[in-house]
Amino acid sequence: MSTVVSLEKYIHNDLVRRVEELSGQDLLACYQCGECSAGCPAAFAMDLLPSQVIRLLQLGQVEEVLNSATIWFCAACQTCYARCPKGVDLSRIMEALRELAMERDGDTLKHTEIPKEELEAFPQQAIIAGFRKYTL
């Protein structure tokens, strides 16, 4: 992205506040060590690394994060949180971002999108959890 970020607008960013409220996390607690990204098992599929998600939020760039695929690839495995030296629960931040994205764009998983044979094969918990994560 080539836009120049105007930092003085940071403190007035309501979306950042919402992320903090929904997730209960202090975004500034992250000091960008990168351990979350280093250990994230889904990072290979992400366009933004987990630590970059936090960084962009620290700079108030919520829109960019909401548009990224990363939030949908987070498996809520909590590996990041388990290791974060600052106790940042990134999986909660990811959940908050999914929530905000769905408030904006609507549900991202429909029953009809899952092939019937898969739906039948899935363990119940995959379906229940999937709909909890991907629908409002």
């Binding site: 970020v5 500034l28 607690a29 960008q32 960084r55 962009l56 620290q58 700079l59 760039q61």
Partner: protein, 433 residues
């Protein structure tokens, strides 16, 4: 018989500490200070990291102790003219600048300063953030609390009439005829504690070359923060006296830049910048503090915790990247930088910028070292006998080092080295029993 007296050059926190250690051990100390009063850089500071102690509150009692100590002979407004001899028997010639005030009869009442009609921007002690008179003391807590006349700005010296101070002085202490004076002292050992300066803003072209009033250095910001400073601790930007709502702090301004400025790390800036940003937020609750850094170097007891506190408790925004350009536009100071963590160019329309400029040795250190027959490095810092195992001695027997004149140091490190140097001197003295 060797002389069990010590000369200490420089009466900042290093020189004061060494002087007190030696004097309290029962030996005489000759303490020479170039400025009219003692205290050095620390006297200019608002609060110290990482404890946020009020610098003046912890320093002033020590200044008073030094000023009154029966074993300390204080020469302020004085410089070492020459040094002869060797360890055990140095003969030192000291030159005292004319204060144009007879300190023997001056009571320090301050009427002269009050009445003097000439206001001058205080570029030294107040770093341009405040004014003083042509007859002045460095601060109200000055030790000794005796004024000097700055001849270059004094109306009488420049135009031949005025003498208002003389008219109002109740003791008749003003002496326009005073000349510089010389003193001889014999000492057995010497501690050099000449301290540091900051790289002039003029050197930093991309950061405004000192031409933008609201771009100031760290010491100037200390004066704004200081409760006894020119703004009584209120944050007011120099250009219009308004409270700045967005303040940018730039670390490594002139440090770690072997191509253009100083190749070394100035060591204290990460910490004092965190402190500055924190204290700014304590004074201006709705303000935004933004720090640009290359690395955060917070090695020291409680230092990393202090930096993290600035971030999480005081909501200081840290941006990783060195600022490329600072210019003025529409009453704002525009800061162009980058955040390499997110890969974004960033820009701040700030109200004020504080540059953590490189620490450099005092410009006078080189000439003094020559007189003492000790070495300085390519930057002018005094050279230790051995950086690892002998960081207190010089290559010349009987001459020791303390403080930032020998390289960037913070207060605890400076005080430790000063006590180390004092210990070295005392161990010499004990060998002469």
């Amino acid at each position: 018989m060797p002389v069990k007296r010590a000369l200490i050059i420089g009466a900042g926190i290093a020189g004061m500490q060494a002087a007190l250690d030696i004097a309290n051990a029962g030996y005489e100390v000759v303490l020479v200070e170039r400025l009219p009063s003692i205290g050095g850089r620390m006297h200019q500071l608002s609060e110290t990291f990482p404890t946020l102690d009020c610098a003046q509150c912890i320093l002033t009692p020590r200044m008073v102790e030094v000023g009154h100590h029966e074993n300390i002979r204080l020469y302020t407004y004085s410089e070492v003219e020459s040094v002869e001899g060797e360890v055990g028997d140095f003969r030192v010639r000291i030159r005292r600048h004319p204060a144009y005030v007879n300190w023997d009869i001056c009571t320090g009442c301050g009427i002269c300063q009050e009445k003097c009609p000439k206001r001058v921007l205080s570029t030294d002690f107040e770093r341009g953030m405040g004014k003083r008179k042509a007859i002045y003391t460095l601060s109200p807590q000055a030790v000794p609390n005796k004024p000097v006349i700055d001849a270059e700005n004094c109306i009488y010296f420049q135009r031949g009439k005025c003498r208002v101070c003389e008219r109002f002085c109740p003791t008749g202490a003003i002496d326009f005829e005073q000349k510089e004076s010389f003193f001889e002292e014999r000492v057995g050992a010497i501690i050099v504690a000449t301290g540091y300066d900051l790289l002039p803003l003029e050197e930093l072209g991309e950061y405004g070359a000192g031409q933008i009033p609201d771009v100031i250095d760290g010491l100037a910001f200390e004066r704004l923060l200081s409760a006894s400073g020119p703004t009584a601790g209120k944050i007011r930007r120099p250009s219009d006296g308004k409270e700045p709502k967005t303040v940018v702090f730039v670390q490594c301004a002139g440090s770690r830049d072997p191509e253009h400025h100083m190749p070394y790390c100035s060591k204290i800036c990460c910490m004092y910048t965190a402190k500055h940003a924190m204290l700014y937020k304590h004074r201006v609750h709705d303000g935004q503090a933004i720090v640009f850094y290359i690395d955060i170097r917070s090695a020291g007891k409680g230092y990393e915790e202090f930096v993290q506190r600035a971030i999480t408790e005081d909501r200081v925004l840290y941006i990783r990247g060195k600022v490329a350009r600072i210019y003025q536009e529409d009453g704002k100071v525009i800061v162009r930088g980058v955040d390499t963590l997110s890969g974004k160019q960033v820009e701040v329309a700030a109200d004020m910028v504080v540059l953590a400029v490189a620490m450099v040795p005092r410009i006078t250190t080189r000439a003094l070292a020559e007189k003492l027959g000790i070495e300085v490095d390519e930057h002018g810092f005094l050279v230790e006998a051995d950086g690892n195992l002998n960081p207190v001695e010089t290559n010349r027997p009987g001459i020791f080092l303390a403080g930032a004149g020998a390289g960037p140091k913070d207060i605890p490190e400076t005080v430790s080295q000063a006590s180390g140097a004092a210990g070295k001197v005392l161990s010499l003295f004990s060998q002469w029993e």
